[in-house]
């Protein structure tokens, strides 16, 4: 409270001081007998010189920043694709820095040089077709080069992966990432968001997971049976708004149940295998050096963005809509630590699309291993594939006495 008062007092005193100064200045300029529109030579020259000084400050600041921080902020690119991106980025930077220095210099230098001088009139120079043609065509040619190089690179980056690329799915939700490896067959199992349960967090489609979800939808906590029981219970008095929420919930769940039953009717158990051998991995994403990867992305709730700063790759994850990207890591984590001369360095996957309060903390560590280490890790991990970890809910449990709160 005291600090608030202090701030207010300072503001008031400051305002009064400035007001007095302006009055003083006003009186002084009245005595000088020229108006505010009549710019005096002294002021004019001073500002012309300051234009040049500013230009030096501007260039100096940029050069200092480049020398001090440069393009090394995130270190060398760690993927095949990233290396070509960096090359192209440097080409573009060279071009734009050239343009930046030339044009800014001309601007401020002319401002300085052609300041009003007594007896010198401006030159009437309204247009010149040759000059205008020159600075239409030169940028056009340079841009053509930039566009061609850029599109070549873009086509390579977005072209389909090779067949032997390792398939990994990254699943985003507020506020974490989950990875799913395709397992021995290198085929990712199909998914459906309606199958998401505590035992099937990624919603993989198999006969067993469909059954579990149908069961949970009917008998689980907050399931249809419980809701009906609550609504039909004449001993409890429910407010109108609670009642309407419960009815909406019930309607929604009945719709979902119908859809699940349809899924069950059309699902072929032969297609279960690709899902069963998938390997789910949290916290850290392990990748193998020099192996091409095909990443696919899904989101559970809102839009996130999978951002791999060190591999120079990024792709949004959009709910209800699959996205993909590919890259091939070229340095293991250990090698990169040496390159960057930083023993604690790690690769990382960040979220780069605003996704809620804890957006800034949504990350997954990435570790790139030598092939030998990777194979060993994968072997250990494969024994804990989806099939072995999934616990089906088969017992038709009697729903516990549910309270209204849980149901809403």
């Amino acid at each position: 409270m005291e600090s608030r008062l202090l701030i207010l007092v300072i503001i008031v005193i400051g305002a009064i001081a400035v007001a007095q100064l302006t009055r003083l200045y006003e009186l002084a300029s009245k005595m000088r007998k020229h108006g505010e529109h009549d710019i005096q030579d002294r002021d004019n020259y001073l500002n012309a010189r300051l234009m040049l000084v500013f230009n030096i400050f501007q260039f100096g600041a940029l050069i200092w920043l480049m020398l001090e921080y440069g393009w090394t902020g995130i270190g060398p690119a760690a993927s095949v694709e990233g290396e070509s991106t960096d090359w192209l980025l440097n080409v573009n930077f060279a071009i734009i820095l050239f343009v930046f220095f030339i044009t800014n210099f001309l601007l401020f230098f002319f401002a300085y040089k052609y300041v009003r001088k007594p007896g010198v009139k401006a030159t009437f120079f309204a247009h010149n077709n040759k000059l205008e043609l020159l600075w239409t065509s030169v940028p056009a040619v340079v841009l053509a080069v930039i566009i061609i190089l850029g599109l070549q690179s873009w086509n390579e980056l977005t072209s389909p992966s090779s067949k032997d690329a390792l398939r990994v799915e990254l699943y985003a939700q507020q506020f974490n990432w989950t990875a799913r490896y395709a397992g021995e067959d290198n085929v990712l199992g199909k998914t459906d968001y309606k199958l998401i349960l505590a035992s099937n967090e990624l919603g993989l489609v198999t006969s067993a997971t469909i059954d579990s979800s149908i069961h949970a939808m009917r008998f689980g906590n907050g399931g249809i049976v419980g809701l009906q029981k609550l609504l039909n219970n004449r001993d409890t008095v429910l407010t109108d708004s609670t009642l309407s929420v419960l009815r909406t919930n019930l309607g929604r769940k009945e719709r979902l149940l119908r859809l699940l039953n349809q899924m069950k009717a059309t699902h072929n158990a032969k297609n279960d295998a690709p899902a069963w051998n998938d390997v789910i991995q949290k916290d850290t994403l392990y990748l193998c050096k020099n192996k091409p990867y095909e990443f696919t992305f899904r989101s559970k709730d809102v839009i996130h963005s999978a951002y791999f700063p060190h591999f120079r790759q990024q792709m949004n994850t959009v709910p209800g809509y699959g996205t993909r990207l590919k890259f091939t890591p070229i340095y293991t984590t250990k090698e990169m630590r040496k390159l960057k001369n930083l023993s604690t360095f790690n690769y990382v996957l960040l979220c780069n699309k605003i996704c809620g309060g804890a957006h800034y903390g949504m990350k997954m560590m990435v570790v790139v291993l030598e092939e030998k280490e990777y194979v060993a890790w994968m072997k250990a991990k494969s024994s804990k594939n989806f099939k072995s970890s999934f616990a089906p809910a088969t017992q038709p449990a009697v729903p516990a006495d549910t309270t209204t709160n849980e149901m809403i």
Partner: protein
């Protein structure tokens, strides 16, 4: 056309009559008063948005440290113990962006100067429809008010006033989904606390804003096409008018698309539709929405969003063209090329929106089309820059504060423009999309340029608006603090982005877990940025003081203080209904006959300017 209006003008406005306070200052239908209303409202909104930016810059530079300043403005609700809450960080960022883009640089810039200058520079008595013009301002005012109030939504009340019905029961604080309000984050109240009532207010405010903007734009277009005075052909119009004209057309064609985007989002939120939602589970809640697409919203949003950049920028470029020519005492170089550039930029701005969506999973082929169209915009932009520089060449430059801001605009337009080339290149965009590099880019090229254009306009036309002069030396101080502050903020910010720092992060503590070097660099630079931001913000207080002080106590303005050619300076200093007391001025020449020389290099007139209403002299040729 012009002559019929002329007659009408005489009948209607020939004699001056006293007006009541309400019809003169509040529900005024006079374009000059409406322009000033836009300006004052925008200055207030701009101040609010600037303050918000200082609040979150403090958090970014000194994360987690207790700040009395934060506590003073945000209190226990949003900054307990003086530490900003992470949700409110997003709220501040969102409202800062929304106000700056829409309320300051669209409503404020185009609303103010289109209103003041279109009739005055064309030689018209007023806008085509004074009534629609008045409505346009009041829509703007109401939407500003709603946006402002949305920041105070808390526990079902605003400023202690209960929000009626169930509306206020969800969420606290303003919209928090970024100024682009992408669904599903903005559609699902469960996903972030600002997507409750705050978001509803945001959408209502924007819908009203758009309605007001459309009324204004239609009026500007009709006025430019129909109410030009005798002799004012399209190619004798000042570049300011060309810029306002094209801006208004862009607005009319693109804002309705944003309105539809907002309406569909309102329906997804309130009526249970699935335009933008499909297969979503938020927290433990499984939604039944199916078949919608969040990308649909992005397409609709950016179909406005990109032309919007030029809605913001073109008026600033128009103002600076006029100011640079006047104060270099030279014609603007390549007038026709400037007009062609404005038209080309206006056209191209409609077919580049996809460059905001390269990494949304949009078809890569479509992406390459957008790369091509986007990079094309660099050509007319380059033409404009070179023409500005050539206008300075061999001029006789007078450094009024307006001139200095106009030169600074050219500088920031270059500096921000060149980095646009990198972001337009989809292959490179992948690596830096949504990092601070982008934030730095658009703040310089669009934010700073447009703000500088607006300051230039205020300093230059202040005598026309208020009949008083602003203090020049305070203007100089304001200018130097502002430009040093602007570069001091946004140069380092590029490097924060190159270090890989994503935007809209509450803090960068996560970097400490995997790359302490990058973390140290980001934190160093963030402190520099914040210090310059605070410096620049304090510099604006000088402007505010100068502005309000001069309105009331500034010295009286002469009729044509900058010795300029355009028609507004032929109107009397005192504002009258109908602008000119007698007949409307007649135009005989283009507006850029400064220091005019004939073919032999002899100066045509004693003075170094010949206003548009002066007939051609004997043996004098028209300049273009």
């Amino acid at each position: 056309m012009a002559s019929t209006h002329d007659a009408h003008g005489h009948a209607d406005h020939g004699h001056h009559h006293e007006e009541s306070f309400v019809s003169k200052y509040i529900f005024s239908q006079d374009h000059k008063m409406i322009g000033k209303q836009f300006l004052i409202t925008a200055v207030f909104m701009g101040l609010v948005a600037m303050l918000l930016s200082i609040l979150f810059r403090i958090q970014l530079a000194w994360p987690g440290e207790s700040s009395d300043f934060l506590y003073f403005f945000l209190g226990d609700q949003w900054a307990p113990e003086g530490v900003l809450k992470e949700d409110m960080y997003l709220g501040l960022v969102t409202i800062h962006g929304t106000i700056m883009v829409f309320f300051l640089l669209t409503g404020g810039l185009s609303g103010t100067f289109s209103n003041i200058l279109i009739p005055l520079q064309l030689g018209a008595r007023d806008m085509a429809s004074g009534f629609l013009n008045m409505l346009s301002y009041w829509f703007f005012f109401v939407s500003s008010l709603i946006m402002f109030l949305s920041m105070f939504v808390f526990n079902g009340s605003i400023f202690g006033l209960d929000i009626p019905g169930d509306w206020g029961t969800t969420g606290n604080g303003p919209a928090m989904a970024g100024w682009t309000v992408y669904p599903p984050l903005s559609a699902l109240p469960q996903s972030v606390t600002g997507s409750g009532f705050g978001m509803t207010l945001w959408l209502i405010s924007m819908a009203i804003f758009i309605a007001g903007s459309l009324l204004g734009s239609l009026n500007y277009i009709v006025t430019v096409l129909n109410l030009r005075t005798a002799g004012m052909t399209m190619l004798r119009m000042p570049l300011t008018i060309w810029a306002f004209f094209v801006t208004a057309i862009l607005g009319v064609l693109s804002f309705p698309v944003l309105l539809s985007a907002a309406l569909l989002l309102i329906m997804d939120r309130l009526a249970g539709t699935s335009f933008y939602l499909s297969d979503i589970m938020v927290g433990q809640e499984m939604l039944t929405n199916h078949g919608g697409s969040p990308l649909l919203f992005q397409h609709l949003f950016w179909f406005l969003g990109h032309p919007e950049v030029y809605i913001v920028l073109l008026p600033a470029l128009g103002l600076s063209s006029e100011i640079i020519a006047t104060n270099a005492r030279k014609p603007i170089f390549g007038y026709k090329a400037m007009v062609a550039s404005i038209l080309a930029i206006g056209f191209l701005s409609f077919i580049v929106w996809g460059h905001h969506m390269f990494i949304t999973g949009m078809n890569p082929f479509l992406g390459s089309v957008f790369v091509f169209t986007t990079l094309l915009i660099a050509i007319p932009s380059a033409v404009k820059v070179f023409n500005y520089i050539t206008t300075l060449w061999r001029g006789s430059i007078v450094f009024t504060p307006a001139m200095m801001f106009a030169i600074a605009l050219v500088s920031t337009f270059i500096t921000g423009g060149v980095t646009g080339i990198i972001l337009a290149d989809s292959a490179l965009d992948i690596a830096i999309h949504d990092t601070y590099f982008v934030v730095a880019h658009f703040h310089i090229v669009m934010g700073m340029s447009a703000v500088f254009g607006m300051f230039a306009g205020v300093y230059h036309w202040f005598p026309k608006m208020y009949g008083k002069m602003m203090n020049t030396r305070m203007g100089y101080v304001h200018f130097w603090i502002t430009i040093v502050g602007a570069y001091g903020v946004f140069f380092p910010m590029h490097f924060v982005g190159l270090a890989g720092a994503p935007r809209r992060y509450y803090n960068y503590s996560v970097y400490g877990e995997f790359d302490t070097d990058s973390y140290a660099m980001i934190m160093d630079l963030n402190v520099i940025v914040t210090v310059f931001a605070i410096l620049a913000a304090l510099g604006q207080l000088i402007f505010l003081y100068n502005f309000f002080y001069s309105i009331f106590r500034g010295p009286k303005a002469p009729q044509n203080p900058w010795r300029s050619n355009t028609l507004e300076w032929t109107a009397p200093v005192e504002h009258i209904h109908g602008n000119w007391p007698g007949a409307l001025p007649v135009v005989y020449r283009w507006p850029y006959d400064y220091s005019k020389q004939d073919k032999n290099g002899n100066y045509v007139s004693e003075e170094d300017f010949i206003p548009q209403n002066v007939p051609l002299g004997e043996n004098e040729e028209e300049s273009h």
